[in-house]
Amino acid sequence: MSNAPASIVSRLAQSRLVWPLAGLALLLLFNLAFDRAFFDLSTRDGNLYGPIITVLRLAVKVMLLAMGMTLVIATGGVDLSVGSVMAIVGALVAFLAERAQLGFPGLLAVGLAAALIVGLFNGALVAYVGIQPIVATLIMMVLGRGVALSITGGMPVRIEDAGVLFLGRGFIAGVPVQIVLVLAVFLLTALACRKTAIGLFVEAVGDNEVASRLSGVNARGIKLLTYIFCAVCAALAALVSIGDVGRVEPDRLGQMLELDAITAVVVGGTVLTGGRFTLTGSLIGALLIQTLTMTLVRQGMPSDVAPVPKALVILAVCLLQSARLRAQLAALFSKSRRAVS
């Protein structure tokens, strides 16, 4: 008996990733048993298609948003405005592509710049004016949707720019560009957080803002940075989304996605009060919810009912984190053990 396997098991049991991973594994096992076609992969013109690829593609927007949201939540904040940021960026890109005949690099620059401004605004309100994150980003959520609507006059606009369409529909070496983009953003973010001190600073600010400030961390700057990053992630999600659909509806683009992103982060094991965070967990959280929805839809659930399983996942995750429930379960367990012995 060596110690190595036991330590891996115990490390895994303590890791926050264990529950979302277990949930995902359970779903995949279910599909393996009852719905083999779920794993069908086909190639058309060298490009990958199949239910799993569809799940990945559908989860891309939420995964991108969840990257930024994870860092914001880790500082003890929350960003309700990401859906509206998506609408602003989408509307702006569509408008400029149509009216100003701007090329893809120009569109990308404008989109990212718009996100930067919104992120600065959110971050400044939270970090420097000292407004609660929910309220500060609620302002931008309401305001931003209005700005997006007024850019296009409320009308849907078609997207014809080849670069944007490529982001949404293209393939690189057979893999959808969207998925490559998410992986790239994830890797860059993870590297920036774990190989530099940024991740540590973010956790320090979320854990105890005053203590982090006293030990020399620029807490306000870090907060500002996370809101800017979150808005930039939303801009990328907007580009992918409008490229995929081929049109922009500013009243619907990104609507309610902020809540999906928060859900993915929480399901992934990052707690809303801030502190330690896990980017991998957030990706798994987004995938878990999308896989669950897809599985149930394939089993005959109407897609309108999809919020119900989402609600149950959130509740389950919350309850698992509750100390009270754990104590109750432990008491139950020890009672039954005593009864047996």
Partner: protein, 324 residues
């Protein structure tokens, strides 16, 4: 009088000033704006938001938040419409819907209290749950055709020869008056303020924190269901997609009304003014005729910004920063 102008009351005074200023400005800009009809319509057209915002006020006063109200409104409209289309008497259907909404709120409150979970997450789950269940009841929009509904819609208290106060605004005003009494003249109201001020202190003082918190969410659920019923009177139909994003309108109205999201500070009367400001902006946009609905959001967002920054400067509470 001097006591009335203390710092704590400044946000609500600012709200009142803005309401008067906005209404005054629009009255100068648009002829016929300053009329009893416009004022009566403010109450009628925003009755569903108002009823929900009143319930939300108690939740926010206690330091919590309820994201589920928009979905509960949607659920209620389709639930009532389906029952009435299945030959259930409307009074029974409405009673059932109110019970279901209250129980839903009570359930969320119990989970929040017993397992000490963040209200944001529990009510987020509640929001998804109610929206999904609304689609389970019926994915199609249903019309409500019944003598009772026609009677309620025709009912009105004539104020002048042309202006009548509609039943829906009557419900809104009744809920508002009841909430005013509940907040300021009952033990429950005091407990809500105490919990919002400092839940641990409230517990140490021996206040029934657990029971009160569950009642607060029950009340919010009840108001959301009642808002749904008001909405069916306004539209004579039920639809599972009704009330999408309404929870944020309600929160915005409460915040514009001067209630602090950190809990413990605020007034039901402020919420009423918040709803009226919200309605005044909507009315002004429809009076203008050239502006589309995007300006409504920009105006509300801008007002929210101004209010929050003013509140922040006035209160300077040190313990902001964290959301929960």
């Amino acid at each position: 009088m001097k006591q009335f102008f203390i710092r704590k009351n400044l946000p609500i005074l600012a709200t009142a000033a803005v309401l008067v200023l906005l209404f005054g400005t629009f009255s100068l800009l648009f002829p016929n704006f300053l009329s009893l009809r416009v004022i009566a319509n403010l109450f009628t057209n925003n009755a569903h938001v108002g009823v929900i915002a009143v319930g939300m006020t108690f939740v926010i006063l206690s330091g919590g938040i309820d994201l589920s109200v928009g979905s509960v409104l949607g659920f209620t409209t389709i639930f009532v419409a389906t029952l009435i289309n299945h030959e259930v008497p409307p009074v029974v259907a409405i009673g059932l819907a109110l019970v279901v909404g209250s129980l839903f709120g009570a359930g969320m409150g119990a989970v929040i209290q017993v397992y000490q979970l963040p209200p944001f997450l529990v009510t987020l789950a509640g929001m998804f749950l109610a929206r999904g269940l609304a689609f389970v009841v019926s994915a199609q929009s249903l019309e409500i055709k019944h003598g009772f509904y026609a009677a309620v819609i025709d009912f009105g208290i004539p104020l002048t020869e042309q202006v009548t106060l509609r039943a829906t605004s009557g419900i809104f005003i009744a809920v508002f008056l009841a909430a005013l009494c509940l907040a300021h003249f009952t033990r429950f109201g005091r407990n809500v303020y105490a919990i919002g001020g400092n839940a641990s202190s409230a517990l140490l003082m021996g206040l029934p924190v657990a029971r009160t918190r569950i009642w607060i969410y029950t009340l919010s659920g009840f108001c959301a269901a009642l808002g749904g019923i008001v909405f069916t009177f306004q539209t004579q139909s039920g639809n599972a997609t009704n009330g999408l994003g309404l929870e944020l309108d309600a929160i915005a109205a409460v915040v514009i009304g001067g209630t602090l999201l950190s809990g413990g500070v605020g007034y039901v009367a402020g919420t009423m003014m918040g709803v009226l400001i919200y309605g005044t902006i909507l009315t002004a946009i429809s009076f203008h005729g050239q502006l589309d609905s995007s300006w409504q959001r920009i105006a509300i967002g801008g007002l929210l910004l101004v209010f929050i920054v003013i509140q922040r400067l006035l209160t300077r509470a040190p313990a902001f920063g964290r959301s929960n």
